[in-house]
Symmetry: C2
Subunit: 191 residues, 2 copies
């Protein structure tokens, strides 16, 4: 249980752009900050994944402010940062190799967005054999529409959690993790 890493995905300024529409989970930023503080205080592994883009029109292009981590998601010196070009944190990155080399088998996943990069990365982590806990209130998404039907961010978020739960990961709230003295023990109990 000692080796669960906090995997922080796409906590970047690009998602502050109002063009994404309405986001759910206003507590997201606070929960990210609290989990990072907790993990660092325990001197356990924190890993960041940042979305990058080669096309200059993307909000995630490395030259743009959107590529920067948010205030709450700032990596500290020494914490690994993997850059990805697609949704999955495992495609086109050295993340899997890093985890294997460091014998990290358990991941506690947080970040954006629930139904795009988080869902994709959680699925692939699980299918690669990692044990995944997704912090249900340290992720969030945006409203979407299809065929004239509007879905709120909260609807999308909730349905995706229901689909991921048990099949790919266990869910835990931020407060459940912070409540216990040792987050790793809690995560161990959950998974």
């Amino acid at each position: 249980m000692q080796n669960a890493a906090l995997l922080v995905i796409d906590v970047q300024k690009a998602f502050d752009d109002p063009a994404w529409g309405q986001r759910n989970n206003p507590g997201f930023e606070t929960n990210i900050a609290n989990l990072l503080e907790f993990w660092r205080a325990k001197k356990r592994t924190v890993i960041h994944v940042h979305h990058s883009a080669n096309v200059t029109t993307s909000r995630f292009h490395t030259d743009k402010v959107g590529h920067e981590a948010t205030k709450e998601g700032q990596p500290l010196p020494g914490e690994p940062v993997f850059k990805k070009l697609v949704n999955s944190a495992f495609i086109g990155t050295e993340l899997e190799q890093y985890l294997r080399t460091n014998k990290i088998e358990k991941l506690v996943v947080v970040g954006l967005t629930t139904d795009h990069c988080i869902s994709t990365s959680v699925r692939m982590a699980a299918n690669l054999g990692f044990e995944v806990t997704l912090v249900s209130d340290a992720t969030a998404t945006f409203e979407r529409e299809l065929d004239g039907i509007h879905y709120t961010a909260e609807q999308i978020h909730a349905v995706h959690l229901a689909s991921l739960n048990d099949e790919f990961c266990q869910l835990a709230s931020c407060s459940a993790i912070l409540r216990v003295g040792d987050a790793m023990q809690m995560v161990g109990d959950l998974i």
Copy 2:
């Protein structure tokens, strides 16, 4: 546009078990049968992926009737069948290598279930660089529950299509594909 393959995922008898709960899309079986007939008539590539399991308690264990393809999903001799042990059709299989070797860049995806193996495989296919069309009414899923909230199969199906659309794939209905004289052309237009 000549090389779009029909990728048929987990169209197996295990999903007939009523223990899964209520499924959406009663037209699923007919649509699968019609798409397979269409692809075969055009002499284009059909690829099957079947879920397998090493644990004997699984409905998908290779010794069980649940592992067999359904009547509509039966592979013909000569059609490749890849066996997978996880949700993604690309993890632990030779599927990607087969597609690269045969220079197949476009996939038309059908099968079960929308939010588990279909979503996972579509996401990974897209992130690996394949162009994916998901046939929106040739996939289906089951009702689920989380934290005492019940989600109908149709709710889950619809939200997952909204999340996949444009980010990982283009959506097309079975009838839209069958309506045109050349499905590949239609798929080409769509993607």
